[in-house]
């Protein structure tokens, strides 16, 4: 137990800031340290848990009210028939992208640094998807008929309309959720077995034992496990691309100026990973501090993530520029109006400019190497990016709808307290789930970190050096 209370390395090997791991703790030390949060909680955890529970209750209340009264309790109208709910949906699903990106993409690219943070990122994906899944159902006029979007052999022989992007959306999101959940769970199995083995009470032993599915850590099991893991990674990787591409089609198949754009699929995927990386920072930085994981989640990880974030920001900026250029180049007055007049000068111009500043401006800090490893800068910038990406979806949805072709139907949208309540509540639910996760599930992939530690020791037994 005592091992968990102090940093793993007695003398932090700060000689190389960008090492993937500091010190060479033994496998046992690592396991003890990383399982420690499962056995006890802290006042801070309880405080945050109370807060997020309150948020979850707010979500339950506002959702119940919405379903009971109808979505008229939101601010939506004609022309702005979609607003906060779809903004929230796209935002959460975007956040859900980074997890699989970090896990699956990077495993295929053999990026070893992913091991320390992939568990958090995957959990984030699951919880973001849970949140995202609320909105497409909730925003329906008659949510109790949501299953009509699913192709099932109905007795009336009616099928969804496959020309519409929405049934594809349902399919893409549910597929992604299923694969992400499987991938996450598969990765957890060896760690759950560790938890089972070191559980302090009988009840925990039984529960972790059930989920560990009889894992013994035999070579045979490891071999099968590895194959399955890489296979799932291979399956999940194209989903990262496809899900948000399909989500973007919810907009781009329309002919609405501001939505009707062929750049949307890559643009949305980039934006999704971008916001997901920001969320990883927001989750990992406090976690690193609270659980004293500085030796496992090192500056090397922060640096790599920040570089990725910057790369995404640049791609996103390119999308912004091209999208606006194409609107001008199209010579279509309605397109030009939306991009060149309505967004920068219209009723939501403030949101548009804050969004641009946050999404384009903030990540430029990451050109400076020192700032890439400064936790405070990273955290603040990430919160800004998350807010900016939420605004981006709001701008895309609301500013396109509120001024479309016929000037006679132009009308603005203003959220109601229910809209705000649902947004705040969904953030609460996310925190609620994440706090449960860090309390009951190993939040760092112990087996992977142990493997990395062994690899690093084998490669350069004397000193840890940069591997990034």
């Amino acid at each position: 137990m005592s091992a968990a209370a102090r940093p793993l390395s007695e003398q932090p090997a700060r000689t190389d800031r960008l090492a993937l791991m500091h010190g060479r703790p033994s496998a046992g030390e690592l396991t003890d340290h990383l399982l420690a949060p499962l056995w006890r909680s802290s006042p801070l955890w309880w405080l945050l848990f109370a807060l997020s529970s309150a948020g979850t209750l707010l979500l339950i209340a506002t959702v119940t009210y919405t379903v009971a009264r109808g979505i008229g309790v939101w601010g939506n109208n004609i022309p702005v028939a979609w607003a906060y709910a779809i903004t929230n949906f796209v935002w959460w699903i975007g956040i859900g992208h980074a997890g699989t990106f970090i896990s699956a993409f990077l495993i295929l690219l053999n990026q070893r640094w992913r091991g320390s943070i992939n568990r958090v990122a995957e959990a984030m994906t699951i919880f973001a998807l849970v949140n995202a899944a609320i909105f497409p159902v909730l925003h329906l006029g008659r949510p109790w008929f949501f299953y009509w979007l699913i192709p099932y052999p109905a007795t009336m022989n009616v099928w969804p309309n496959f020309k519409s992007a929405l049934p594809w959306d349902v399919a893409a999101v549910t597929t992604y959720f299923t694969v992400s959940l499987l991938f996450w769970f598969l990765g957890l199995v060896p760690d759950l077995a560790s938890a089972r083995d070191r559980a302090t009470t009988r009840a925990r032993k039984i529960v972790y034992g059930i989920f560990a599915m009889g894992w013994r850590g035999s070579g045979f099991q490891w071999q099968r496990y590895r194959v399955a893991y890489v296979l799932l990674a291979g399956l999940a990787t194209p989903l990262v691309i496809s899900v948000h591409s399909v989500v973007s089609l919810d907009f781009s198949i329309a002919q609405l100026p501001g939505w009707h754009s062929t750049i949307f699929p890559p643009y949305f995927v980039v934006g999704a990973i971008y916001s997901g990386l920001a969320m990883v920072f927001v989750l990992v930085l406090p976690l690193r501090r609270a659980f004293k994981l500085h030796d496992i989640i090192t500056d090397a990880h922060l640096d790599a993530l920040a570089k990725l974030t910057l790369a995404m920001a640049l791609m996103l900026t390119y999308s912004y520029v091209i999208e606006t250029f194409m609107a001008w180049y199209s010579a279509n007055p309605a397109e030009q109006y939306t991009y060149l007049i309505a967004r920068p000068t219209g009723p939501y111009a403030v949101v548009y400019w804050i969004m641009t500043a946050l999404n384009v401006g903030t990540p430029q800090l990451f050109w400076v190497p020192r700032l890439r490893t400064n936790p405070v800068v990273l955290f603040v910038a990430s919160v800004g990016i998350l807010a900016g990406m939420w605004m981006e979806r709001f701008v895309i949805i609301v500013t396109s709808l509120n001024r479309d072709f016929l000037t006679s139907s132009w009308h603005t949208y203003a959220p109601t307290w229910v809209d705000w309540g649902i947004l705040a509540g969904s953030i609460g639910l996310f925190g609620f789930l994440f706090l449960l996760f860090v309390r009951f599930v190993p939040s760092v992939a112990i087996s992977e970190v142990k493997a990395l530690s062994i690899q690093l020791s084998a490669a350069r037994p004397a000193r840890a050096t940069s591997d990034a």
Binding site: R69, G70, I71, G72, V73, G75, N76, N77, I78, P79, V80, A81, W82, H139, L140, G141, R142, P143, F145, F146, W148, L149, V158, W159, P160, N161, K163, S164, A165, L166, P167, V170, D250, I253, A254, Q255, L256, W259, P333, A334, Y337, L401, D404, F405, L406, T407, S408, S409, W410, H411, A414
Partner: protein
């Protein structure tokens, strides 16, 4: 006829019926033991089924609605005894098949749950028998004197020969009885303009080439407006052949002003100067402004074929000048003539409410019987009628609602709706029209005739027989055949009022002296609202939610003000103003109207009601307190200041310009004759690799399509109400309109272009365009909106889950969403008013114009039963049927000779947003402006 005893339902939370409903639901859930129970209510077979009634097949009856004393012929559709839709009577001269806003919306008032249901004496419930006793001659004589000198009747304006005969009968009993007429904003100016009094002008717009309208909204308000609109538009239907030209001078921006070829905003006081200039120019004088000179020139070039028409509330001088111009141009006798007013009491000021008020103040009245109207609300505040009425020792009020007047009356008798009573009236031209009931009074209401009979001490007469007796003196021959024939038709044709010759009083024709108004003084003009009229329609949700044709504001009245004046006073739209005259002030929010006359405020009447009507309460501001005692519609020298408060209007169209997108197009007559194309894309199909319009196989015998002529559309909005009534469109209320959630399937877009001091407007009815290549259809994930083989874009409510993607992708934004359950809590009577042929939509589903598919299918079935092919012209959509100007044409494109096919090939035809390749089935005909070249700077 069936009696619907809705009033017997107690208005409790849990009524017997709702309890039974709940019980039924729980039984259904319990499921098993239900079969052993008998229903609690006895079920009787429909033994006495009337021979003409087939359940499910609606019947149509002719009747008439009386407004401001004059009748408009109507055809009312009834389903199993429930009136559900009001249409114009195609043969009636005041309708010609069209029905205005008020006529159509009057249906909603029949079913209004706020209607009074109980007779009372003071605050105690009473009975009809008690009332009959209290007002029988035996009881009354002791109070009002043997000759009835202390008895007063207050009537609404009426031309009914039946009521006149009843009043005459009463007069034999009470020779000294006094009869007053309550005309809230009556034809005051006409009185005194001529050497003879009690005359009304008549116009023939079919014969008019040039029309000058002065402060008149003849196309959309006032008696005979439906007829005038038809006659006016008939001369604009084919612009190439003899199009008329309309000049309008007015202070507010009316529907008529919007239809004008040339319009000038003039303060109320400047109208007579303008007319004086025109008269002078017509008589060969000079010194006229370019506008007046051009108008005079044009009128002179069309002598005998011009009309100068004045608003009935204008001053006597305005009327006199107009009459003098018509005389000078030989229009009088050709396009303009005068008849005696058939209204009871004429325009005699001795019968006004003011006179009544004075009589009460002088203690001359003991018993006042007020038959209809709402004088306690609608009389100018300075008259103080409400207080007067409360001073009357014995008063009775016959009214539909427990309104302001009911509160001031001792006795209150619920009035019957006109669809519940027998009666008669004359149309504006004198046509004898019959009022025929479709239902027995829902709440036991009484008619004016019944009350007059009580006063006369006669037993409750068979009103039907009484009408029949009077009808025989108005051209209905004796015998059942003639009588049923007249009832079936609804009126007696061929009777018009005799012409009289009048000359304007010469002393009124002196040139106006320069108005010594201090600079920047504000004049107030009071006006009827086109929707709630004098307030009697204020409890009507359809009308409250109907956007004002010009401002597009709903659920409000406002101080209408020109932008320049507003700027000078530091006012913007929504600023609450304090408008005061002496010690009387009203607080009313300002609404900027481009093209409004400067230094003038228009204050619409009929709002700020304080009666028991729940819809009307708290809507708008009552401006009657500000009105001068003489009933004049003009009030000079008011003080206007901002209060600092703000008010949000519920406006359905916030953006007034087209942003150069050309959705509503106008051609000049010159461009039209040059053959200029209105659309540069017509007949050009976009190259595409896809199959032409996707899913539908458009192979049905009929291919439905519509054309809308913007040249004859005046934006009166009758079609909007027609659509609402036909398609069970809910009223959503002020807050939801403010959030752009109004449910109108058909809206009138109004665009304002040009300088703010005098812009041009164009109105464009916008409804589902029934695109062949519909953007809404492919985005629906559940296939709830599909295409029919006869070219309809269909909406399957049952399948709709409410993603609203269809609305997002509709470039015309004509789809409407049930954000909440707008039909929740409908009273029993309101449910009776719904059209049973159209689904009442639940919350969470999308809806939109269906081209009145229920009417199409009804006609198809009728044709199939008859074994004949269907003609497209057999189907009329609700909007088309109500349109006073026939601007909407509907039919099948497969008939090459159909009006709709012909109009789609017209030079003026274009489709809105054709660049999106939606292939709409609704085609618009560009408006044509018949400009006077001498008033156009660029020729």
């Amino acid at each position: 006829m069936h009696r619907h005893d809705a009033h017997q339902e107690p208005h409790d939370e849990l009524t017997r019926r709702t309890f039974l409903k709940a019980l039924g639901a729980s039984l259904a859930l319990a499921g098993l033991d239900g079969c052993t129970r008998l229903p609690a209510e006895k079920i009787l077979p429909y033994v006495n089924q009337p021979p003409e009634l087939t359940p499910g097949i609606p019947l149509h009856y002719a009747t008439s609605m009386v407004l401001d004393g004059f009748a408009t012929g109507l055809i009312v559709e009834a389903h199993e005894g429930r009136p559900t839709k009001i249409e114009g009577n195609p043969e009636h001269p005041a309708s010609l098949g069209a029905a205005g806003l008020l006529e159509q919306a009057s249906l909603l008032q029949l079913y209004d749950p706020d209607r009074a249901t109980h007779l009372r004496n003071g605050s105690a419930p009473s009975s009809w028998q008690a009332f009959v006793t209290a007002f029988s001659p035996a009881a009354l004589r002791q109070r009002v004197g043997a000759r009835g000198e202390r008895l007063a009747l207050l009537l609404e304006p009426t031309s009914s020969p039946l009521i006149a005969s009843r009043v005459d009968v009463l007069r034999t009993l009470y020779p000294a009885m006094r009869v007053f007429v309550d005309a809230p904003l009556g034809a005051t100016g006409m009185d005194g303009a001529f050497t003879a009094t009690g005359v009304i002008p008549q116009y023939d717009f079919r014969a008019a080439d040039v029309i000058l309208s002065v402060g008149s909204n003849f196309l959309a308000a006032g008696p005979f407006n439906l007829r005038y609109a038809r006659d006016f538009s008939d001369r604009r239907r084919s612009p190439a052949s003899g199009m008329n030209r309309l000049y309008v001078a007015e202070s507010d921006f009316s529907v008529t002003g919007g239809a004008a070829d040339h319009r000038v905003p003039l303060a109320p006081g400047a109208l007579e100067s303008m007319l004086a200039e025109v008269l002078n120019a017509v008589r060969g004088g000079g010194g006229a402004s370019p506008w007046s000179a051009a108008v005079a020139q044009d009128l002179m070039a069309h002598t005998g074929r011009g009309v100068v028409i004045t608003g009935e509330n204008q001053s006597a001088r305005v009327h006199a000048f107009a009459a003098a111009i018509n005389d000078a141009l030989s229009n009088t006798g050709r396009t303009v003539w005068f008849t005696r007013s058939p209204l009871l009491g004429g325009t005699d000021t001795s019968t006004s409410v003011n006179a009544l008020s004075e009589a009460i103040a002088g203690g001359q009245i003991d018993t006042l019987v007020c038959l209809g109207g709402n004088p306690s609300y609608s009389t100018p505040g300075a008259v103080g009628f409400s207080a007067s009425m409360r001073r009357v020792p014995n008063s009775a009020y016959l009214g539909a609602y427990e309104n302001e007047t009911a509160r001031d009356a001792r006795w209150f008798v619920p009035a019957a709706h006109y669809l519940e009573t027998w009666g008669d009236a004359l149309a504006y031209d004198g046509t004898y029209s019959l009022v025929q009931p479709l239902v027995q009074p829902l709440h036991g209401g009484k008619s004016v005739v019944e009350l007059l009979s009580v006063l006369a001490g006669e037993p409750l007469p068979d009103v039907r027989e009484a009408v029949r007796k009077v009808a025989t003196t108005h051209g209905v021959a004796a015998g059942d055949t003639a009588w049923t024939g007249a009832l079936g038709r609804g009126f007696v044709a061929g009777q018009t009022l005799a012409r009289v010759t009048v000359t304007p009083r010469p002393d009124l024709l002196s040139p106006p002296t320069a108005v010594a108004q201090p600079d920047g003084a504000i004049t107030v003009a009071f006006a009827y609202d086109t929707r709630v009229h004098d307030g009697s329609f204020a409890n009507n949700g359809w009308l409250q939610e109907l956007p004002d044709p010009m401002t597009k504001a709903t659920w409000d009245n406002a101080a209408l003000i020109a932008p320049a004046t507003a700027r000078r006073l530091g006012i913007t739209t929504g600023d609450v103003l304090d408008i005061s005259n002496g010690n009387v002030a009203v607080r009313i929010p300002a609404l900027l109207v481009p093209g409004h006359a400067i230094d003038t405020l228009t204050l619409p009447l009929g709002y700020g009601r304080a009666g028991a009507e729940r819809v009307a309460r708290g809507v708008g501001v009552d401006v009657n307190p500000l009105r001068p005692a003489n009933g004049s519609s003009i009030l000079g020298g008011v003080a206007v200041k901002r209060t600092g408060e703000r008010h949000e209007f519920a406006v359905t169209q916030g953006h007034w310009t087209m942003e150069g997108r050309g959705q509503a197009r106008t051609l000049s007559l010159a461009e039209l004759s040059r053959g200029a194309p209105v659309s540069d894309r017509r007949a050009r199909r976009t190259l595409t690799i896809y199959d032409p319009p996707s899913a539908p196989r458009l192979d049905a015998p009929q291919q439905w399509a519509m054309t809308i002529d913007l040249g004859t559309c005046i934006g009166c909005s009758a079609c909007v109400v027609a659509c609402q009534a036909e398609n069970n469109i809910p009223v959503v209320g002020r807050d939801d309109v403010a959030n752009s959630r109004e449910m109108h399937w058909l809206r009138i877009d109004r665009y304002v272009e040009g300088p703010e001091e005098n812009p041009r407007t164009i109105t464009q009815p916008m409804l589902c365009q029934q695109c062949e290549n519909a953007p809404c259809e492919y985005v629906c994930p559940v296939g709830a909106t599909t295409h029919s083989s006869d070219g309809l874009n269909e909406m399957v409510y049952n399948r709709c889950v409410g993603t609203r993607f269809c609305s997002n992708n509709c470039p015309y934004k004509v789809r409407r969403f049930n954000w909440i359950d707008y039909n929740a809590g409908l009273s029993d009577t309101e449910q009776m008013g719904k059209n049973p042929d159209v689904t009442v939509r639940e919350r969470g589903v999308m809806e939109k114009c269906t081209f009145c598919v229920q009417r199409i299918r009804e006609a198809e079935i009728a044709a199939r039963v008859d074994g004949r092919p269907l003609r497209g012209s057999e189907v009329k959509t609700a909007c088309q049927q109500s349109c006073p100007t026939n601007a909407i044409v509907f039919g099948s494109l497969t008939e090459r000779d159909s009006d709709v096919a012909r109009q789609r090939g017209d030079q003026r035809a274009y489709t809105v947003l054709d660049e999106l390749d939606t292939h709409p089935r609704v085609t618009y005909l560009a408006r044509v402006r018949n400009a006077n070249s001498s008033l156009e700077p660029h020729g």
